[in-house]
């Protein structure tokens, strides 16, 4: 995290979360191969398991 200059109210301190800046990228990375609204390999495996269980 990094601190930036005080803002409108003089005693306020902005603390910028690194994770907030990278949240979109992080989520994209976490979801893996996403195409057409489907996590391809994982959902295919899950569906196969459900279908035959």
């Amino acid at each position: 995290m990094s601190r930036s200059a005080a803002k409108t109210k003089p005693d306020r301190i902005e603390l910028v979360s690194e994770s907030s800046h990278g949240s979109l990228e992080r989520v994209r990375k976490d979801t893996g191969n996403w195409r057409n609204g489907v996590f391809e390999a994982e959902v295919r495996d899950a569906v196969r398991a459900v279908s035959f269980s």
Binding site: E14, S17, S19, N36, A46
Partner: protein
């Protein structure tokens, strides 16, 4: 095509399995699970003095999305109160409301901090469109509920006026605390991706809650260029789509011109259609045989197997058609039964799961629970 068929078949099988499990459909058992979930949120995730909804416990920044999920939770509690009328829900809603109003006023009136530290001076800045979307959702539903007193309605109206005035000043872009630089995810004036409904929802809620004709005029000016953009939701994951669903719900409630309502309802059905295949992800979590602590340490599994499926169910119940909503009642029951509430460290799925439950009750798809506020009628005793 084959994959699409497989996913739909899987969803149907998943729903059928849940339907077959009569225990999961018992309204008392489900309500007990919701109470457990509520207790966890209230005691571990809502900061007592600030009223902020902390989204992460011990892993990552707990304040990153405090306004976003605080707003969703206030909307959820407002809906729950309309059903139960209980004092515990009222007290928690007021606590969460206080946290949201704190975030809206602590730095500069009209600027939404993501969250405030306990010193009440240090804040998380760089707010996104998502934070603003849920802020309007939660406060608008609270102000429109039987829970809100006239002074509370005035407080919400004042907060909306301040936020909308600042946004209007900045050309409907979200700026950082300096008022000059656009925030990283602050392109509210854009039409896509999923931006059109966000601004329209804020203006519709703002016009309704403040009663100020200025915001109705701004809504009318903003509508025409955006109506055509309320489609093509299929590219998005449910953690994005749930926010579009919140906005569409606001629009269906407060912009009821028939020609617009038709567009909003169609957008809701498209959002739900995009979410339906994502519901199956919960089976990834259920099938994983690792100990629960290991499963919850797997960030990818928490996202794909918990957050995305639960938020998909919530979004479908918020804006889907009756047929779409009925399809996810089975998965919702299974999620309520199987979700590891006690071990959860991440608030978004907990919040969305409770929201999904109350929305299902509101839509008449789950039975209304018996509570102290709704005593059994004498003739039934």
């Amino acid at each position: 095509m084959r994959l699409k068929y497989a996913v739909l078949s899987g969803l149907l099988a998943f729903a059928a399995a849940a339907r077959a499990d009569s225990a999961t459909r018992d309204s008392r058992a489900l309500y007990d699970r919701v109470r457990t979930l509520r207790n966890r949120l209230e005691h571990d995730f809502v900061a007592p003095r600030r009223g902020l909804l902390l989204t992460r416990l011990g892993r990552g920044d707990p304040l990153e999305d405090a306004t976003l999920y605080g707003g969703v939770y206030l909307g959820c509690l407002s809906k729950a109160f309309e059903i139960t009328g209980d004092t515990e829900t009222a007290a928690l809603a007021r606590q969460v409301l206080a946290g949201l109003l704190l975030n809206a006023a602590a730095v500069e009136p009209g600027f939404l901090a993501r969250g405030m530290e306990p010193d009440m001076k240090t804040f998380r800045g760089d707010p996104s469109v998502d934070q603003y979307t849920a802020f309007f959702y939660g406060l608008a539903l609270f102000a429109d509920s039987s829970l809100a007193t006239p002074p509370e309605q005035k407080n919400v109206a004042r907060a909306f006026r301040d936020v909308l005035t600042r946004l209007r000043r900045d050309g409907w872009q979200i700026t950082r605390a300096d008022g000059r630089t656009r925030s990283t995810y602050g392109r509210l004036a854009d039409v896509r991706p999923t931006r059109a409904e966000r601004l329209l929802g804020m203006l519709a809620a703002g016009a309704a809650v403040t009663g100020d004709p200025l915001w109705r005029k701004e809504l009318e000016a903003a509508t025409a260029p955006r109506l055509g953009a309320l489609r093509h939701f299929e590219k998005f994951q449910s953690w994005v789509l749930i926010q579009s669903a919140l906005s569409v719900e606001l629009l269906c409630r407060w912009d009821t011109r028939p020609e617009h309502l038709e567009v909003y309802r169609r957008a809701g059905a498209e959002i739900a259609a995009a979410c339906l295949p994502q519901v199956t992800g919960f089976d990834l979590f259920r099938r994983d045989s690792r100990p629960i602590t290991q499963k919850l340490n797997d960030r990818r599994l928490v996202l794909n197997g918990i957050r995305i499926p639960i938020e998909a169910v919530a979004a479908i119940l918020l804006v889907g058609t009756d047929e779409q909503a009925r399809q996810v009642i089975g998965p919702l029951c299974r999620m309520l039964v199987d979700f590891p509430v006690a071990s959860a460290w991440y608030a978004p799925p907990l919040v969305s799961l409770e929201l999904a439950y109350w929305q299902a009750v509101r839509r008449g798809l789950l039975r209304r629970p018996a509570t102290r506020a709704t005593p059994t009628p004498p003739e039934a005793q």
